[in-house]
């Protein structure tokens, strides 16, 4: 009896520790964003006198004021947003469609170089584009393709990570009988892929969509090198501008600018968080 009681006490103590730590970590996750949003509605003078406070004397007025300040300078979130949206959307569509197609080629057909091809895909999966950037930039420069958003999009056709993921998914969930029955009905191979296989891959597509979109949306390194014209800047490049000298003391507008870049991601995350976390668990590996 006594033993059981002490065990019980111990586990209550542990539970308290667990909840305290988890709540602290939850606050740690949220706090920077709360500070960011509140300070976006405060004036620079208010932030300087106390940077961590919910108080704002004239929130709406400060907000419009902060907006005016950064609008007069180089930070241009609207252009960045549109460019990022174009790049991320097209990247996602291309990567998803062609990765499904390639994974289906690996799954459904017997061909001579199949295993070698799969080996290649696994082999190049981990190599980040950043280490080959010098050659990529020079090649692009010679054909006058820098400052073209297309150059950030088209390479997505070869996304080895996603092909690997999709192939694993097909192996676990698609039976060749479905494909064969399509063949019986006289459908061509391409038709079978588009009409039967693609719809069956929806769950895998959904998770990969989110990761590809977010990954592309957040990319800074390659766009920063390829894009030198202001009207081609993506959102992360615009964000980097906020760190430059001209905003040094305009705290309110820096917070507002950051808020604008975070809001779309937070909306997506709040709507899809369950699928995102499940997707990570499935192996939606980013790197």
């Amino acid at each position: 009896m006594a033993n059981k009681n002490s065990l019980h006490k111990e586990s209550v103590g542990l539970k308290i520790v667990i909840y305290v730590v988890c709540v602290i970590l939850a606050i740690l996750s949220l706090m920077p964003f709360i500070i960011m949003f509140t300070n976006a509605t405060r004036s620079t003078a208010e932030i300087q006198s106390s940077a961590i406070s919910l108080y704002s004397a004239h929130p709406i007025q400060n907000l419009t004021n902060n907006w005016k300040v950064f609008n007069g300078k180089s930070f241009d979130p609207a252009t960045g947003f549109v460019n990022s949206l174009i790049v991320s959307t097209c990247t996602t569509i291309l990567a998803i469609y062609f990765s499904c197609l390639t994974s289906y080629a690996l799954f459904a057909y017997e061909w001579k170089f199949r295993d070698a091809f799969f080996g290649l895909i696994v082999g190049i999966m981990m190599i980040p584009g950043t280490v080959t950037m010098i050659g990529f930039y020079q090649a692009a420069y010679q054909v006058h393709m820098t400052n073209k958003l297309a150059l950030l999009i088209i390479p997505a056709i070869a996304s080895p990570n996603m092909v690997f993921f999709m192939r694993q998914y097909l192996q676990a969930s698609l039976s060749m009988e479905i494909v064969d029955s399509g063949r019986m009905d006289g459908a061509g191979e391409f038709m079978i892929f588009n009409r039967i296989v693609l719809p069956l891959m929806k769950p895998a597509i959904a998770t990969q969509c989110i990761f590809t979109f977010v990954g592309s949306w957040n990319n800074l390194f390659l766009p920063q090198i390829l894009l030198t014209k202001k009207e081609k800047y993506t959102l992360p490049i615009e964000v980097a501008l906020l760190n430059s000298d001209i905003y040094q003391t305009e705290y309110g507008s820096i917070y507002l600018g950051l808020s604008l870049t975070v809001i779309p991601l937070l909306v997506i995350y709040i709507l899809l968080s369950r699928y995102i976390v499940e997707g990570v668990a499935l192996g939606g590996v980013k790197g």
Binding site: L14, C22, T130, M133, L258
Partner: protein, 324 residues
């Protein structure tokens, strides 16, 4: 029906792979080879063109030697590895602790779902935004952290977080940790969920307590997942760019200067020495390929071991049948 048609289908394997292969050749393989080529030339300078530059036949590894001798490269490599270690150890530690708590079979932690969602959240936010945000939050003398420290009386003048190399490394490592521990936790939890429940039941029957179960059963079972996380995190860590390039870039004796920043600066600022940048890229490329091979070996090992087991079992079964 039958054979003839099967042979026919095979060609679709090739057809459907063509877009991937073309894109791979043009946008991955060609840049890799081109980077290698540039690494062996004297291609440098604003006005230089690749046509005018020559391959360094007499001393082919000149660029590589210069890179290895460069203090800035060594420093950036050291910084990159140190920052990675400073972020990875606490990240893995916390992720393991949370995994142990969240997967404990005897006492369920309530609200797990919401905690996981909150812990993972920083991971999806643009790293550039996060870096600029933390520049403000760690601002001196009147950023939120310093304001709080002053109010609590923990410091008199506030702490200048960009003053010394170690402070910068600490903050960059903290930001990386903050962004990635939730991700690592989710991966580890999925590894634990994948363990055969019978193993835990056996541990229960043997009277193993919570701590014993975790260290002697759970940890060995998720060894592969942990190694996978280690290698992928190391590869990501070697490519660290966004956060250190936006947080305290030229301050504190460049304590947060990383290899990718070095490569970019060497190629696109000052004398524009593409050849040196390419050589540095190739060095990183080789390190990363080596790491990938390690990873490949780890992942393959597991499947092969399984196959071997199955084969053994099949052999045993066959023998048993024969005996009958």
């Amino acid at each position: 029906m039958g054979n003839k048609k099967l042979v026919d289908y095979g060609k679709f394997g090739y057809i459907f792979s063509i877009p991937f292969i073309l894109a791979f050749l043009v946008f991955s393989l060609y840049p890799i080879l081109y980077t290698f080529y540039i690494g062996f030339t004297d291609f440098a300078g604003m006005a230089a063109t690749i046509k005018d530059s020559k391959v360094l036949w007499s001393e082919p590894f000149k660029n590589f030697i210069s890179v290895f001798k460069s203090n800035l490269f060594r420093k950036s490599f050291g910084n990159t590895v140190v920052i990675w270690i400073m972020n990875f150890i606490p990240q893995m530690g916390l992720a393991l602790l949370l995994t142990a708590w969240f997967t404990d079979r005897r006492s369920k932690v309530k609200g797990q779902g919401i905690f996981k969602i909150l812990f993972y959240m920083p991971n999806i936010i643009t790293a550039a935004t996060v870096a600029v945000l933390f520049t403000q939050i760690f601002g001196y003398p009147s950023g939120p952290i310093n304001t709080t420290l002053l109010k609590l009386g923990l410091t008199e003048k506030g702490i200048n977080f960009v003053l010394t190399p170690w402070r910068i490394k600490g903050v960059v490592a903290f930001i990386q940790f903050w962004q990635w521990y939730g991700y690592t936790m989710v991966i580890l939890i999925s590894g634990v969920i994948g363990i055969d429940p019978a193993i835990f039941e056996a541990a229960d029957l043997d009277g193993a307590n919570r701590v014993q179960t975790f260290f002697l059963v759970t940890l060995p079972c998720i060894r592969t997942v942990m190694l996978y996380t280690l290698v992928t995190s190391l590869i990501g860590g070697l490519n660290m760019f966004d956060i250190p390039s936006l947080y305290a870039r030229d301050q504190g004796d460049s304590g947060g200067y990383t290899v990718n920043m070095y490569i970019k600066d060497v190629a696109f600022t000052g004398k524009q020495r593409y050849n040196l940048a390419a050589a540095a890229s190739i060095i990183m490329f080789i390190i990363i390929v080596a790491l990938s091979l390690v990873l490949f070996y780890i992942m393959r090992d597991k499947d092969e071991a399984k196959l071997k087991k199955l084969k053994k079992q099949a052999l045993k079964a066959a023998k048993a049948k024969k005996a009958y």
